[in-house]
């Protein structure tokens, strides 16, 4: 439902424009004000111009995952728009705030964009269609049911009358928005767009240099800022000597930035508390970013290193180990593992380690901000624009209503841009230079050293093996670095084991927490799958054979409270596993040093949470030098209804590259309180030459759409580790594989 029901939308829009205070024109960017003033906002979702141009609003960040195309496809379907008959623009965070979250779901995370917005955007399209048709029906005195839409016209077949959207929109906008349950949405058999691989709306601009990312925002009189946060986590700024760098050509100012909140849903009340979200920083402002960064490199800065001055990776690992030696929070328990261990024929035990990993989107963190007497205006690529708006207002010290935030295209995200540290930093600098637009860019080194890393983890697994060679008990205990509770990674395995206990702990570790694409599934699926492989090896079976034995619904204990859910998951996982085995063509690779590995999972967080499910076969060859070459990946995916199958395929292809990059190479380490890696020379990403061939099969569409942004990541990592085992390198216990420690 539209939160503005009962008030005319145009009235609301006028109020917003009058109240914003910092409206800027003529800056070469499509601002909401400029767009809105020329068209009619029929609802919050759709703007229609007098010339029939239709603009669909997208309440998610385009990170490359194709949300702009897929979500527009959904709304356009119900509005009977043909491809190419609409433009898109981002939603406005201030509008969303004032209209009581009319855009329903605006943070871009957890593969939720299409999952959560499919129905709202269908309804939004149908509402606009109804309002346009109702206007024409009134004009012509005909039954609304006799009207149809084609080529952005409402048409009455019996009388051959037609009216363009543009001629109807202003009056349609005055009508009440029909309730969702008063509308009949199209039957799937009538879909023209949903379920088809429509071309992406943003490809052309991304092949000509015309696409404007956050880092490309340009404002008149803009200056550039380079930024450095405390080199240690939790450090404080003591001071700096700006006298030298202020003499350098182009350098305008040196600004102290206060640490504070910047992250996901942080309440803006913690300003004076060092809460690990963002530390004190220094920015140099200059006519050129290059000048600013050069000067920053020369600037003498004095830091109070804080309580983590001596933290290092070895010490964090010790703390994780100590946590594993004490009882953790119980996150799953079935049966009686102690009895099963006491009765076991044999036991298998192993420990696994996952390092801090940096998301490393290719566009560095950046934000452009302008603070004036009227308020603050900011532009940035962020995964949570509502939060960016709040952070901008807070950092500027202005009322929320006096803040304006412009979401931009984003050069990747992968979870990194859920924190809005760059917004706070840019606004603080802009506040020190009122009236001057500031574009703040973090160098790659700054991004690498001050990330919101996927947390470090260490897990201890043990299994009891019964006389038939199957595990009778599974006990896992995981300890994470600083992280919210995320036990699902270790505990949501679908395998039928009669006695299960999963425990969970966190320890304090210096870097702030970040969610990374694949979240705890990416950290844990490979551990669980590798351990299953170790159990298989101990009982003379292949890993695939053991996966099959445990994906057997007959083995699900009947007294489990989630019995039906467990059986359904087992059937689905088994089905996809068999499909990918068939698609890959063989269970093993014969050539020496070659191995084929398998993994399958959904991205379910809790019992009853239904998510996409993906199975993969990964082929590797291990060279004489021990290096791993990934040759081929086969994937089979069940995403429910794929709104745009080619985009789903692209997400699986890309997720494979992302997961392989992480599993093979990614590792952030700490020494003397500081991150040791600085750039792509010591934090290497997967290269084109290392990318395997990828084959993707999507199951036929069924049901509703579920997410696919992340799913490939945990699955490819787990299948890779399984393949490396199959190729003869037993005992993978830690990532990344290229610095692996064998058992």
């Amino acid at each position: 439902m539209d939160g503005t029901q009962g008030v005319t939308r145009r009235g609301v829009l006028k109020t917003l424009l009058a109240g914003s205070g910092v409206v800027m024109f003529g800056i070469g960017l499509p601002t909401r004000e400029a767009a809105a003033s020329a068209g009619s906002e029929v609802t919050s979702w759709v703007l229609i111009h007098p010339d029939n141009r239709v603009v669909i609003r997208i309440p998610q960040t385009e990170l490359g995952q194709g949300v702009t195309t897929a979500l527009a496809q959904v709304l356009a379907e119900e509005l009977d728009l043909a491809w190419g008959e609409f433009d898109t623009e981002y939603y406005d965070a201030q509008t969303n705030l004032q209209r009581n979250n009319v855009y329903v779901h605006t943070s871009t995370l957890a593969s939720w964009a299409v999952d959560k917005l499919f129905e709202p955007m269908r309804v939004a399209g149908a509402q606009v269609k109804h309002m346009l048709c109702a206007t024409a029906a009134q004009d012509w005195g005909v039954d609304i049911a006799s009207l149809s839409i084609a080529q952005r016209e409402v048409r009455h077949a019996a009388s051959t009358r037609a009216a363009g959207f543009g001629a109807l929109a202003a009056r349609a906008a005055e009508l009440p928005i029909p309730a969702a349950d008063a509308l009949t949405l199209k039957e799937a058999t009538h879909w023209q767009l949903i379920g088809k691989s429509m071309p992406r709306v943003d490809t052309r601009a991304k092949t000509t240099g015309a696409a404007i990312f956050g880092i490309d925002v340009a404002l008149p009189g803009m200056k550039y800022a380079a930024v450095r946060q405390s080199p240690t986590f939790g450090g404080r700024l003591k001071g700096f000597d700006a006298s030298g760098v202020l003499k350098r050509a182009g350098v305008r100012e040196v600004v102290a930035i206060r640490g504070g909140p910047s992250g996901y849903n942080v309440p803006p009340t913690l300003w004076d508390v060092i809460d690990w979200q963002m530390d004190d920083a220094v920015a140099v402002v200059a006519d050129s970013w290059w000048q600013a960064q050069q000067a920053l490199n020369e600037l003498p800065i004095e830091w109070e290193p804080g309580p983590q001055a001596t933290a290092d990776s070895a010490g964090i690992d010790q703390r994780l180990g100590a946590a594993l030696d004490t009882a953790g929070q119980l996150t799953r328990e079935e049966g009686d593992i102690e009895r099963a261990f006491a009765a076991a024929e044999r036991r298998v035990e192993a420990e696994y380690r996952y390092p801090f990993m940096e998301h490393a989107p290719l566009e560095p963190m950046n934000c452009t901000a302008l603070v004036t007497a009227g308020g603050v205006e900011a532009w940035a690529p962020t995964q949570y624009a509502d939060e960016a708006l709040r952070i901008a207002a807070y950092a500027a010290g202005v009322a929320l209503k006096d803040a304006k935030f412009h979401l931009t295209l984003s050069g990747g995200g992968f979870g990194r841009r859920l924190s809005n540290d760059f917004v706070s930093q840019a606004v603080q600098v802009a506040k020190a230079l009122p009236g001057t637009p500031i574009k703040l860019i973090s160098s790659r080194e700054e991004c690498m050293r001050r990330g919101y890393y996927a947390p470090v983890a260490r897990a201890r697994l043990r299994a009891a093996i019964g006389p038939d060679g199957l595990p009778t008990a599974w006990h896992s205990k995981v300890a994470y670095g600083r992280a919210p509770v995320q036990p699902y990674g270790m505990s949501r395995f679908p395998w039928a084991v009669p006695n299960v206990r999963c425990e969970y702990a966190t320890v304090d570790s210096p870097p702030p927490f970040g969610w990374m694409r694949g979240v705890a599934h990416a950290q844990s699926l490979w551990m669980n799958t590798a351990f299953l492989g170790e159990i298989a090896a101990a009982t003379g079976k292949t890993s695939l054979a053991m996966q099959r034995l445990l994906l057997d619904e007959a083995h699900v204990t009947t007294d489990r409270p989630d019995h039906d859910d467990a059986v359904a998951r087992i059937r689905r996982h088994r089905d996809l596993l068999e499909r990918v085995v068939a698609r890959a063509g063989a269970e093993t690779l014969a050539a020496p040093g070659h191995g084929r590995g398998f993994a399958v999972t959904d991205m379910s967080y809790v019992p009853g949470y239904y998510a996409s499910c993906v199975a993969m076969a990964v082929d590797v060859a291990i060279g004489e030098d021990g290096d791993i070459r990934v040759l081929a990946v086969h994937a089979v995916a069940d995403v429910g209804l794929a709104v745009n199958p080619d985009i789903v395929t692209a997400q699986i292809q890309g997720g494979i590259g992302f997961g392989l990059s992480n599993a093979l190479n990614a590792q952030i380490t700490l020494k003397d309180g500081q991150v040791e890696q600085a750039n792509f020379n010591d934090y290497p990403l997967l290269t084109l030459a290392e990318m395997p061939t990828v084959d993707v099969e999507l199951l036929p569409a069924s049901g509703r759409p579920t997410g696919i942004g992340e799913d490939a990541v945990p699955v490819v990592m787990a299948a890779l580790v399984d393949a490396v085992r199959a190729a003869g390198a037993a005992g993978i216990r830690s990532l990344p594989l290229r610095s692996r420690k064998s058992a």
């Binding site: 991304k206 290059w290 290719l362 020379n681």
Partner: protein, 155 residues
């Protein structure tokens, strides 16, 4: 001091520090923002442009090193987005976030200019740019497709 360049076919005269990397000259002084900053150490290739027809990482090329050279950026790869590579990229929907793609296209264009029928191994060797979204499968397919188009084959 004044540095003369030819950028996308146009003569340009600049007052800028000759140590300033070409990347930042293009982005800040010439408003050609299609060329991207990704690492500043020549590792990622997002800043790839052609300098006298050769693909180079502009983040580590001081303006002095580009003096009097003919520079081509993504904005000058074609007048209207119709270079064979751009068409192949559009046909295959190669980009995801798109941030690396200007550099990818410039590196690929330099490859095709010297090799009409690159093998997979040639592509592996020539395209060392980084893509974090993992679009490599489609980049490879796009290069093959563009090469075929340029050879006059129907794709």
């Amino acid at each position: 001091m004044t540095t003369a360049l030819k950028v996308n076919g146009k003569a340009v005269s600049l007052e800028a520090d000759t140590d300033k990397p070409l990347l930042w000259v293009l982005r800040e002084d010439l408003a050609l923002t299609g060329t991207k900053y990704g690492c500043g150490i020549g590792a990622c290739g997002a800043c790839t442009v052609h300098v006298n027809g050769v693909a180079q990482r502009s983040c580590v090329l001081p303006l002095a090193g580009a003096a009097d050279a003919a520079i081509t950026t993504i904005e000058g790869l074609s007048a209207d987005g119709t270079h064979a590579l751009q068409q192949a990229w559009q046909a295959l929907d190669v980009p995801q976030c798109g941030y690396c793609q200007s550099g990818m296209l410039m590196a690929a264009a330099a490859l095709l200019a010297s090799n009409a029928s690159p093998t997979d191994a040639d592509i592996d060797a020539a395209i060392t740019n980084l893509c974090r979204c993992g679009t490599y499968v489609r980049i490879r397919a796009g290069i093959h497709r563009a090469a075929a188009t340029l050879r006059g084959e129907v794709v």
